[in-house]
């Protein structure tokens, strides 16, 4: 058996002897193993469903990696169809990123694959399946294939005594006609960490503690709003990246695939509900009790009367130096395509659906400004693989004069941004990670039906 130290030593020979290094990688014990397999999940005493999960649990285990320290993760596919695991928010090469469209090989039925990469950047990331579901609302992101991934050091901007990882997810999907005349997924159950309110363990805290919440929205399609009754939340990071201006907010809005890190001062003893702000979603189960030590009271909820959130409040207060070369602008017009009142809509980027979506090849090292022009009636959580981007402008109504974005944001680095319906948003990124790069809407039904584009480097 080769130890991890031996393996790392062997790996250092990569430049001299790539075939031998590859052989060594295959011999070494992996740092983590993930078994993708069917599982029967008890969401509550009344909700039992069959799904697919990582290592038999939902969410999957927290993977703790160290920045710039190579890691090997072995993934075995025990399901009846090919799978792939996407390392969301990491700067991985395209053949390991976990998107088949970029060139990552699928893990065939009954096979095992090894993902060996150097994790970066530091922060709260996650891993999940990156397959298609189409009309089957039990597969792909509709299933339980998601888990937390932390790359240390996390550059935590605040001290904390205890941390909790919370995954928001929706289950038992069915298609329902919506107001814009097409079918959309709706859900019978919503959970935090795979359990409805009252069925899972409470979050146990002590008075005077500062807790750090890592909130992930792993829902296939739904935006969620979360509050902790009796407490405020100080947002310190978005998508794992520290924000320039941490703010204390009454609630979090977390779009599909987004992550929010928030610090909470536990200064109001009792038993409180941390849950979805919207009544009908919390009624489906999306809540968990937060229990102070030695308190057994019934969990209390304080219903907010409004939904409050914007990205802008976390931006840098002073614009940074803008003397560098202007970025290359890439307008992307996002539209739906009607397929009948009995079907989900298809999606286009600049008039085409994947795989016919394309833009000019990226030039390595250049700065790009993606201009999202959302003509549709839906909000879209847009995700760029293998890169982070900086939010530059948000929320400009398309009807505004000239379509110009009204704000000039700086410093918020993300890999997912929710672009509201009928608005324009702009982000910038540097093309510094060559290789095929997928851009898509993170709503499973949208990416299934054409809302993807592969960016290539020149």
């Amino acid at each position: 058996m080769i130890s991890r130290r031996d393996f790392l030593g062997l790996s250092s020979l990569v430049a001299l002897a790539p075939p031998f290094a590859s052989f060594a990688e295959n011999l070494a014990e992996p740092d983590y193993r993930i078994d993708i397999a069917p599982v029967t999940l008890d969401l509550s005493p009344r909700h039992r469903l069959k799904t697919t999960a990582y290592n038999g649990q939902v969410p999957g285990a927290v993977l703790r990696l160290r920045e710039n320290q190579p890691v090997t993760i072995e993934v075995a596919n025990h399901t009846d169809r090919p799978e792939v695991v996407h390392w969301h928010g990491l700067f991985t090469p395209p053949d390991l990123d976990g998107a088949i469209e970029e060139g990552t090989p699928a893990i065939e039925v009954g096979s095992t694959a090894r993902y060996a990469f150097t994790p970066r950047p530091a922060g709260f990331r996650w891993y999940h399946t990156h397959t298609m579901a189409m009309n089957d609302l039990t597969r792909a992101q509709y299933s339980g294939q998601h888990g937390f991934l932390i790359i240390e050091p996390r550059n935590d901007p605040a001290r904390y005594d205890q941390e909790f990882f919370l995954a928001l997810h929706d289950w038992a999907g069915y298609l329902l006609a919506n107001e814009d005349g097409a079918m959309n997924p709706s859900y019978a159950v919503s959970t935090i960490n795979g359990k409805v309110m009252g069925f899972g363990e409470p979050l146990r805290v002590k008075q005077g503690q500062r807790i750090l919440l890592h909130v992930l929205n792993s829902s296939p399609t739904e935006v969620h709003w979360v509050a902790l009754a009796g407490h405020s939340l100080r947002v310190v990071a978005l998508d794992g990246n520290p924000v320039p201006t941490p703010r204390t907010v009454p609630m979090l809005r977390v779009a599909p695939a987004e992550r929010v890190c928030a610090v909470v001062e536990m200064n109001n003893p009792g038993v409180w509900v941390l849950g979805e702000v919207r009544k009908h979603v919390q009624a489906l189960g999306m809540a968990v009790a937060v229990e102070y030590e030695n308190r057994q009271d019934p969990a209390r909820w304080e219903q907010p009367s409004d939904l409050i959130w914007n990205y802008q409040q976390f931006a840098a207060t002073r614009p940074s130096d803008s003397s560098s070369d202007p970025p290359i602008a890439v307008p992307l017009v996002l539209e739906s395509k009607f397929r009948g009142h009995g079907a989900m809509e298809a999606w286009t980027i600049n008039g085409n659906s994947y795989p016919d979506t394309r833009i000019a090849p990226l030039i390595h090292g250049r700065r790009y400004r993606l201009q999202f022009i959302n003509m549709s009636m839906d909000d879209h959580p847009l995700h760029l693989h293998r890169h982070s981007f900086e939010l530059r402008a948000l929320g400009a109504p398309l009807a505004a004069a000239g379509g110009a974005a009204p704000n000039d944001l700086r410093g918020i680095m993300k890999d997912v941004v929710l672009v509201d319906s009928q608005t324009r948003a702009e982000v910038e990124f540097t093309a510094d990670n060559p290789g095929a790069t997928l851009f898509h809407c993170h709503q499973q039904n949208h990416m299934d039906l054409g809302f993807m584009m592969l960016l290539h480097y020149a």
């Binding site: 709706s186 919207r278 009544k279 009142h341 079907a343």
Partner: protein, 271 residues
């Protein structure tokens, strides 16, 4: 504590009890409401107001058993439907008729409760059941009290829409009271040409009493070519022209349905 979801088991029992309590049969509304029902019900805290306008271009020209001829009758029906919860509604009809020599006349009223299978049950088709009971003046229908039970099954598949209403009906007061149950099915098939414009066929039949099916010439058989205009989630527009294929059916009818939803509830973003 947060709001807790209603027990699915309790909801199922409630729906099944409601179905079991439905009255048995009703008589068709002839040419006052010409519509194949979809399974969806009006949402709670919402009032749907519909105006059904039907003009008989070519119909019965003689007075029979004291009943006015249908030829050139203009029927205006106001239908008010209030959503009770996410699986039931209550409808109310005011039937009127206008005709040369008779002026504008009130014809009658019906009430129509309806329940449906909630979406969250995940059934592959939409299913609901309505029952309708009401009165109409003898000058417009010799059967003055009628009762209808209408199962409704529908399904949207891509651009296609299918709906079947195998309605059963009976007379409670009038000459046909001894006939018992009658069978009056209707079917709709339509296709979405665009997000706004759909077109299709609606077929309405009345075979007479179950167990004593009427001869073909005494059956009612109507086929309408229709279009639905989906201009807005709050508006409903259906226009059609239909022909009657038997001597017992009005031969040519033009129909239109104009509906508007009024959301009267106080909704906040967190509801």
């Amino acid at each position: 504590m947060p709001d807790r979801p209603a027990s699915p088991w309790r909801r199922r029992v409630a729906v099944l009890l409601a179905l079991a309590c439905l009255p048995l049969l009703a008589r068709a509304q002839a040419n006052y409401e010409i519509q194949v029902y979809g399974a969806e019900t009006v949402p709670p805290e919402t009032l749907m107001v519909e105006l059904h306008s039907n003009f008989t271009v070519e119909g019965e020209k003689e007075t029979i058993d004291g009943m006015y001829p249908t030829n050139h009758q203009e029927h205006e029906t106001i239908e008010l439907t209030e959503g009770l919860n996410d699986w039931s509604e209550l409808g109310f009809y005011i039937f009127t008729s206008e005709q040369d020599g008779h002026g504008v006349q009130w014809v009658g009223d019906h009430v129509r409760p309806r329940v449906r299978v909630p979406d969250s049950w995940g059934w592959p088709v939409g299913v609901s059941v309505s029952t309708e009971i009401g009165f109409q003046r003898s000058a417009y229908s010799t059967d003055t009290w009628t009762w209808e039970i209408r199962p409704i099954i529908d399904k949207s598949v891509g651009r296609w829409y299918f709906a079947v209403n195998p309605a059963l009906e009976r007379t409670l007061h009038g000459p046909d009271v001894e006939q018992g149950w009658g069978f009056a099915p209707s079917i709709k098939i339509s296709y979405d040409f665009t997000r706004v414009v759909s077109g299709g066929i609606e077929w309405y039949a009345d075979y007479g009493a179950i167990g004593n099916i009427a001869p073909v010439h005494n059956q009612q058989q109507q086929v309408f070519v229709v279009t639905d205009l989906n201009v807005s989630p709050v508006w409903e527009i259906n226009i059609g022209i239909g022909i009657g294929a038997t001597s017992a059916t009005d031969h040519l009818i033009v129909k239109a349905i104009l509906g508007r939803r009024f959301d009267w509830g106080r909704h906040s973003p967190v509801d």
